[in-house]
Symmetry: C2
Subunit: 437 residues, 2 copies
């Protein structure tokens, strides 16, 4: 199929249907009525306001604009008060500051208080920047709304849409800037094939240059990298997907692939074939938001991975899973068992004082000289990666992230073998090991 | 016991007895008669000539002095002819040049042809230097002969006497220079406690300084390091022995410790406890002199050790044994088994051409992106160190030393487990593992 035809077809997957659009319209009108009855300045921003939301992701963002000299505390209170007043149902959510999330006529709505500023350089918090983003994009994106949707759909189907920590992908704002810059979805992916980890896209200046990192300059604040939360690996995935799509265009690139694993018994056999140690650190899921939880899971996994490297269990990869009640840090190691004995480095032979100290320790086997220094045989405290991780995690829970550490301090288990295959981690293990569907 | 008393006692272990001295004397007189009857200039050199030979190590060295302008070929022929003529029985031996080794009245004798030179800077081969060494030492060592014997006895009992490759220890000439320099055995060991790998002992200038390596300047040729063949580890052992001896003087330092192992069944249990892989590469002993064989065994062992490191079997130590019919290269590894799967590094994501090539290979598991580059799961050809070594040695025999390589090409086996304990390598394994007697 020709790429233009694929893109044409893909539109059906990303454009909201009649009903969804009408629902948005009705909710918007109702919301405006309610807001107008209160004495408050507001602005509709985000993908709803610019008609760039992805099919099935309708959400209305309303920003309340308060005068610059209002104290933070008052802004917060008034914001929450108005939010509660205009929503059918609501809850308080927390980003940098609290805001109100709720529903109007069946449509999800965020009501966010911010300052009304003249100059984006005076912003006090990230939300103050949003009205400027909207202002900058509003007219520039006109006529290209569906190109934004194509890009979002392409990214989402491949798991790299969203700047939140769980994803570390492309934000909606970043998608719109790319469409403004390149003009269309197709031009974006065509150009992305040549992006590098040093590409700088300066949207305001209309130029691409080389820099220190992948950097999309915010037209509203040239110091800010709109792609700051995009991981290098997700950048790499997008570049690769762009090449693959253009070489072999197909609608599949716009369809999410359900992350399904294999049968437990099949996975057991695969692990046996690979000859590795596969196991999980299991603990109770801390009751915190995902943007707080995921960095901690990442950190904890990395710390344990580094421990496994130091202890020569030769870990291959790690991953993690936050299930409903438990979290799992997952590892695969190339060494299932290491010897009890190892060699400990001692001082150079000239260093009489330290040689004496080194040799004074009682040992089962005689120390020896090699390469001009002393060495001794000593015994490991653990000989399997599972034992090692138990040992490490017990003594180092405090370094595994605040809430994750505290949860692990209360309770953890190292799960492997048949037991591991009973936990809801099969899909994650399959992905970690590159098991083909 | 006080150190002086120990040294006094030790004399009995190192001084030749009446009978040995008489035997030497009688052989010397007979030899001189025979030499005098031929028209040849000669000189008695070495430990017999200087009365510094170690008890039980009587051997007479006679150097035949030929004019500087005699062609090498003629010198060689005349040397062999005379050697044969003056010895009761003989064999031709090969160092840098051939010489005659034999027996006179039951005493071992070397007859070595060399050039008679005015200046040691004109020497054509190492043997030409020996008469100069003798001339330099002759009078300087007078009265200190037994100090030399004490030092030699101390070194020999601890396995570091002799400059030959099998030992890489202290030559007899080096021992005599040290005694000339420090005055006595006791002063030598007292000073040796502070030697470093950068100590330079300039015997002719009577000074110690710091240099690039342990260097004992030959008084006969200041460019030459008399300790060139002393390994850093044997230097370290001597320094350590000197400290230990002076701290706790005992006659034991002068008594060789028989290198005995333990019972095979005990060794089997020790290896099991240590949890390591212990195995040998066994092959037919090449029919070459030790000074040629040992460097090759060393090289072959090192090459295989480096292979085991590269392949992550985490070798601890190696050793080797040249038995009568077979040679053994011995290894102990911390990893008995490694996984079948490993991760192979691929190109950075930007490098489109190589990414394509990397991904075009058929693989059981899906490649992945990490840290901005591609990686793939691949399968190892071997998962145990024994299998690995078989694989390596089969393909790389040519890099394992000329004669050792050729022998391995003809036949080798990797021996481990119960089979290994039937081979004559128990003592070597015990020493490698620091098994205490």
């Amino acid at each position: 199929m020709k790429v233009e035809e694929v893109v044409e077809e893909a539109l059906k997957l990303v454009l909201p249907e009649e009903g969804e659009i009408r629902m948005g319209k009705e909710a918007e009108e109702e919301l405006r009525r309610r807001l107008d009855s209160l004495e408050v300045e507001y602005v509709f921003v985000g993908s709803y306001a610019r008609n760039t939301w992805l099919k099935g992701s309708l959400e209305i963002d309303v920003f309340l604009l308060f005068p610059e000299d209002m104290p933070k505390e008052e802004l917060r209170e008034k914001g929450l008060e108005i939010g509660k007043a205009v929503l059918d149902s609501y809850e308080i959510r927390y980003a940098e500051h609290p805001y109100v999330h709720g529903v109007v006529k069946g449509v999800e709505v965020d009501v966010v208080p911010c300052y009304k500023l003249k100059d984006p350089r005076n912003i006090k918090s990230a939300v103050d920047r949003t009205p400027f983003h909207h202002k900058w994009l509003e007219n520039r994106i006109k006529g290209k709304e569906n190109e934004v949707r194509l890009l979002k759909g392409f990214l989402k189907a491949n798991g790299i849409y969203g700047a939140e920590y769980k994803v570390r992908g492309f934000s909606g704002y970043l998608c719109e800037l790319l469409i403004v810059f390149y003009g269309s979805f197709l031009e974006t992916v065509k150009n992305a094939r040549k992006w590098t980890r040093r590409t700088v896209i300066d949207v305001a200046k209309g130029e691409v240059r080389k820099g220190e990192e992948f950097f999309v300059v915010d037209p509203v604040d040239e110091k800010r990298n709109v792609a700051a939360n995009l991981s290098i690996d997700n950048l790499a995935r997008f570049v690769h997907l762009s090449r693959a799509f253009l070489e072999n265009p197909s609608l599949g690139f716009f369809k999410p692939k359900p992350k399904k694993g294999v049968e437990p018994e099949r996975l057991r056999k695969i692990i046996e074939e690979r000859g590795t140690a596969v196991f999980a650190v299991k603990f109770r899921r801390p009751d915190i938001v995902e943007d707080n939880l995921y960095p901690q899971l990442e950190r904890a996994s990395r710390k344990i991975f580094e421990f496994l490297e130091r202890e020569n269990f030769m870990p291959i990869r790690y991953t993690f899973k936050a299930a409903e009640k438990f979290c799992y840090l997952l590892f695969e190691c190339q060494v299932k068992e290491i010897s009890r004995v190892f060699r400990r480095m001692g001082p150079q032979f000239e260093d009489e004082k330290n040689v004496k100290k080194f040799l004074s320790k009682r040992r089962e086997f005689a120390p020896f000289i090699e390469g001009g220094r002393w060495w001794a045989f000593e015994m490991r405290k653990f000989t399997t990666p599972e034992e090692g991780v138990k040992f490490y995690v017990s003594g180092h829970w405090h370094t595994l992230g605040k809430n994750v550490g505290e949860s692990i301090k209360e309770y953890f288990e190292v799960v492997s073998g048949e037991d591991l295959l009973k936990e809801p981690v099969i899909a994650e293990i399959c992905e970690m090991m590159g098991v083909k569907g």
